[in-house]
Symmetry: C3
Subunit: 343 residues, 3 copies
């Protein structure tokens, strides 16, 4: 058979390194599409002049463009037969990506644990995004539940990696040259600086976007993500396509501009859960909570740790889990990340 059946649980080996296919050169086209698909308005990612005033050579592409591009490349090897996308950890953005850069992806299998039912198992991979100079621009751990092809395949010795709950502030990488000392708050869109945010503060981002089938499919293809459930209406009786979780991440992040306009660069992904599936017709809103703050060595640059929650219609303000400890059905996403903000 010449087509890719995807990998099954028993086909992964601890320590194995997978080079993912189809490198991708990004251009102003990817950026324009990103800004047309999500209400993204971060000034650093919108204007060359603004980025240059912050010490960068030009405006980089949105950090989630880098994430989605790298993530998309891993799908054919990691999650084509995945039952569930279970979590993220230890994500770090290590270098900015500019138009003209070419991204490829590589994953190392760092954990394997068969489920007690013998029908599937969890696969942990550390994925790296590399540019045309071989520099790692992004890395993160993801774990997914993958089906077994043969129920009688022997279970591997279980290996569950110990993962940091949070990327330590000392491990955050600030892009070379970045300074927020001459930061123009008026052009950025909001006056609120790092010192204006308090740990524990919650922000309702107010705006909502109703999703159409065409939009999430255009986005998901843009990242060369081939997971069938996002595109083929015949998979479900109701003809709806499951929306790529990354679409909800980008939508929520873009909505969070309203209240967090100065949380400019994502530098770490501490964790994340796709709490419930999202479908076309859902109206997505977002709220954030300040989880922590830290200083950096870059001039004028602080770090802020944020919980970003995406919800759909019917959600109560700032409600996350029910009394049973489970995510409420209106919660779509619970993401934990570090961003850089002017002091």
């Amino acid at each position: 058979m010449k087509t890719n059946p995807g990998r099954f649980f028993e086909e992964y080996r601890i320590g194995e390194v997978i080079d993912h296919a189809v490198p991708r050169t990004v251009s102003g086209g990817e950026r324009a599409l990103y800004h047309a698909l999500y209400p993204a308005r971060g000034a650093l990612y919108s204007s060359d002049a603004f980025a240059q005033a912050c010490g960068l050579p030009q405006s980089p592409v949105d950090d989630l463009i880098a994430f989605h591009t790298v993530f998309g490349k891993t799908v054919p090897d990691i999650s084509l037969n995945a039952v569930a996308n279970l979590g993220y950890a230890e994500g770090r953005w290590l270098g900015a990506v500019y138009p003209g850069d070419t991204l490829r992806a590589q994953s190392e299998v760092i954990g394997l644990k068969e489920n007690s039912n013998g029908a599937s198992g969890n696969v942990y991979v550390r994925t790296r995004g590399l540019n045309q100079r071989g520099e790692t621009v992004l890395e993160y751990v993801r774990w997914v539940m993958v089906r077994k092809a043969r129920a009688d395949a022997p279970a591997p010795d279980p290996v569950v990696p110990v993962l940091a709950k949070v990327v330590a502030p000392a491990d955050l990488v600030v892009p070379e040259g970045l300074t927020f000392e001459g930061y123009d708050f008026a052009l950025a869109g909001e006056p609120h600086r790092w010192s204006d945010y308090a740990v524990g503060e919650q922000i309702d981002h107010v705006d909502g976007v109703t999703i159409e089938e065409a939009e999430h499919m255009i986005a998901t293809r843009l990242w060369q993500n081939t997971a069938k459930v996002h595109f083929d209406a015949t998979f479900r009786p109701d003809g709806r396509r499951l929306i790529y979780g990354g679409h909800v991440i980008s939508l929520a992040r873009a909505l969070s501009f309203n209240g967090l306009a100065n949380a400019q660069m994502i530098v770490a992904l501490n964790g994340g859960a796709h709490a419930n599936p999202c479908f076309a017709g859902d109206t997505v809103k977002a709220w954030s909570e300040v989880l922590d703050k830290a200083e950096t060595s870059a001039p004028g640059v602080g770090a802020i740790r944020l919980r970003l929650v995406a919800t759909k219609q019917g959600a109560e303000p700032f409600a996350l889990r029910g009394t049973d400890g489970k995510y409420l059905p209106e919660v779509l996403l619970d993401l934990d990340y570090w961003a850089l903000m002017p002091l």
Copy 2:
């Protein structure tokens, strides 16, 4: 509160200058999307080679890309609490915008008049679009009806600016170097030149486009326009989103290629009214009327003043107003502009 509640009528002051947020660098990406969202075919905006033959360094981005980009930036400060977008005047394109240019926007409050009901008032602003060199590339006056936050806020002294009904031909700015002396009518798509159009002539542009929700939202986000009603289906009982008026402007202008292929560059916006709201599912068509003609000092370049009317299904040919003087319900847009055309 950290999110932007928008401004209310009583918060504007005559003479105040507002620097709008989030400058934007445009690229070939924005152009490709524009051409994918609207059936735009103006040769000057499609081909570097054609633009160079007309004396320009390369193909500029469509003049309405500049307009929408600048307009979008003003929304958070001007029209987030607007009840209605009332009119445009004295619009002029002062310099071409090329891929790589960065646009920002600035508005001066030039008029304020509270309504007799005491619940809202009209705000007049003169908005300028500036490039990375600080050059004004576009300016226009817009007035909107804005809600008051507090009914008891005192009414300001009424100031209603005196606005020109039409931009005088002598005030039109032809881009430096532009010449239509070697204009290639075959490549441009139609043989009709400036002298072939008569004042009073009406042109039915024939083609129609049925609008989908995904398209107008993609377009509106591309301009970083954040007005909630365009994106959130929960605002209306029928779940439809109000289509950004600028989407109809661009759609109608692109449709007018068929009959006005040589009306290449928009150089002035004399006035405009969004006569009725537009929704997904509407099939938009357009017709034009020649209102005036003028000569310019550029070689081979004439100016033509056009009324551009967008209609939806059910419209009668060239019908604009009812016997009561009001716009007919099938009329969506009535725009008055100057364009440049080969003599």
Copy 3:
């Protein structure tokens, strides 16, 4: 009348050369959109680094971007009054197209034959796509059935060109400098090389994509294709728009990556039929059959002749025609082309 009524059968003359309007400069924006509209993943068209390793200066735009752009320009002159798009032959890609190149199109009328009903006739044109240096980058023959404007217009002497059933391998043009000697199969996405494919082999490409109205209209506009039936819902009682046949070609070609990832460049179009109309809501899948193989003079580069069939929901595996010899109703496209593949 200033609008374009399109040409009718009696207006074409044998030997006539038509210069089509609106040249188009392509950029990374067109590529990004192409990759967002179709699940295209050919490494040569995705990565500058990969293309450079194959001897090209950079990644060209997808060969079907060149085809659609050229095809779109011919519509106002050739097929605005077409009843049916009957066939393609002798298509060849003669030179790669890179971001920054400007394409225009030219057609020569090479055949005319009135139908026996006297109401329409077949028009055969040889179309060439030219770049800004006047080099032909693409050529193909297309024939369409076009209505007559006047039933009493005299029938022309019938001329039916003799067209090659298949482009001979010796006539395939391999882009200058192309080499597949250092071809990286891991980055390309599949291990299968030219020698792994057998004539007669059939490949089910497995994946399916359900089409939305917004997507096909965005795509069709991107090629500046103005055929009314693709955009105006009022043309049909059910409000559906007929999907541009080229949209199905690109979708099927992109789906064929899964099993034919190394069939990198399309170099010839031997023939093609749009077997049945396609509408939004259809779920498109694809299968291929290896029709022939040939060697080329370029290092490491083989040619493979493929039948590409697009189907919609309800299609049986590899079913093409019924017992009556006609295409089955679930078959949308039957395309015959040559591609280049590493030996």
